[in-house]
Symmetry: C2
Subunit: 211 residues, 2 copies
């Protein structure tokens, strides 16, 4: 631990949430909010100035870059601040990219204030805090490794999820209908399902495709 207070940057597109984080964290001894950012781009620029210890980063910004990519860019620099994800969502599709991007912790916004402050201090020290729900998800991920789809397969499955027929997907991707069927067959075995709708259902559950 250093002897100066921990300096925070709040990155969230919701003014109300920024005000709430500020209100909660500024009452804590040893914590100071020195800046706010309403977009991911602003957060990157502000974090580069070098006077920040911990960034509290939302994942979903209304427009522009997402929090995961911003996290990657912030942590890429030498001497970068720690990034603590504070978001509402805990789906697979969100948590894993954020953690891969170099986030030091992952909290949900329903966390009580004392947990939040504790996580900030932990992050400032370089150690990791995970929300229980996120930790569970990661453990499950390690226990049953999720089927990983190739680029082509996810591409095909995404179009299936939009309701396109095999023939239409083939035309869209400049492939034969037979090829689409072959890709789907592999997808079915990987996801352990036997129909396109079931594949879409489990893939969205696993966060393999959007929606």
């Amino acid at each position: 631990m250093t002897d100066h207070p921990i300096r925070l940057l709040l990155a969230d597109d919701h003014p109300v949430v920024r005000a709430g984080l500020r209100a909660v964290l500024e009452t804590e001894p040893g914590l100071t909010v020195v800046a706010e950012a309403a977009t991911a781009e602003d957060a990157i620029a502000r974090a580069a100035e070098g006077d920040i210890d911990v960034v509290l980063m939302d994942l979903q910004f209304g427009r522009g870059m997402g929090g995961a990519e911003a996290t990657a860019q912030i942590t890429a620099r030498p001497g970068a601040p720690r990034v603590l994800i504070v978001t509402t969502y805990d789906s697979d599709a969100d948590t894993l990219p954020a953690i891969e991007a170099g986030a030091t912790g992952y909290l949900l916004k329903d966390a009580p204030p004392e947990d939040l402050a504790a996580a900030v201090r932990t992050a400032a020290a370089g150690r990791t805090t995970l929300a229980p729900a996120v930790a569970d998800r990661l453990m499950n991920r390690l226990r049953n490794p999720t089927a990983t789809l190739t680029r082509r397969e996810t591409e095909v499955l995404a179009l299936v999820a939009e309701g396109l027929s095999n023939h239409a997907i083939g035309r869209r991707l400049h492939l034969t209908e037979g090829t689409i069927k072959s890709h789907l067959a592999r997808i079915y075995t990987k996801l352990d399902v036997d129909s396109r709708t079931a594949a879409v259902a489990t893939a969205t559950d696993l966060g393999l495709i959007r929606r």
Copy 2:
């Protein structure tokens, strides 16, 4: 306008959001936060005490009742406070039930603080404020009236969305496969699609089924 300050109840399961709303609204003259609730059930009980003018209500609570149902129960009583929805989401599936439940306004959490305060004053006066995105959605809804599915049809479509085959759906609902096909045919014409996956896609877009 009355001469006493407008008394507010904050109903949101996120402590950070409650703190943010409190910080934003208490700096406004003529507004007082007199209570907070972390669950929909608490909000109903607190609103029944009669000393509240406006309830700021989230739609998504972690567990238990949702904000829409809580809104309905609060506004059902005589002399009930106004309910202003303040939420992150603006999907069809969320907005319409809330408005039907008697909400006086619908804001998104990315609203700037001054809009929030203005909406609270408008709500206290009994008039409606809608976020622009929500207003757009309602206008579109009026222009192209959404297909309405019967109970049976939504039931069938929900099972389709889970990946079941027509035969499996028939067994689940104690119906013939032919009946399922008949229901689906009607669903397709209503939604103007021609496949089960397309039906699931547009139905989820329209908020007719969950996920």
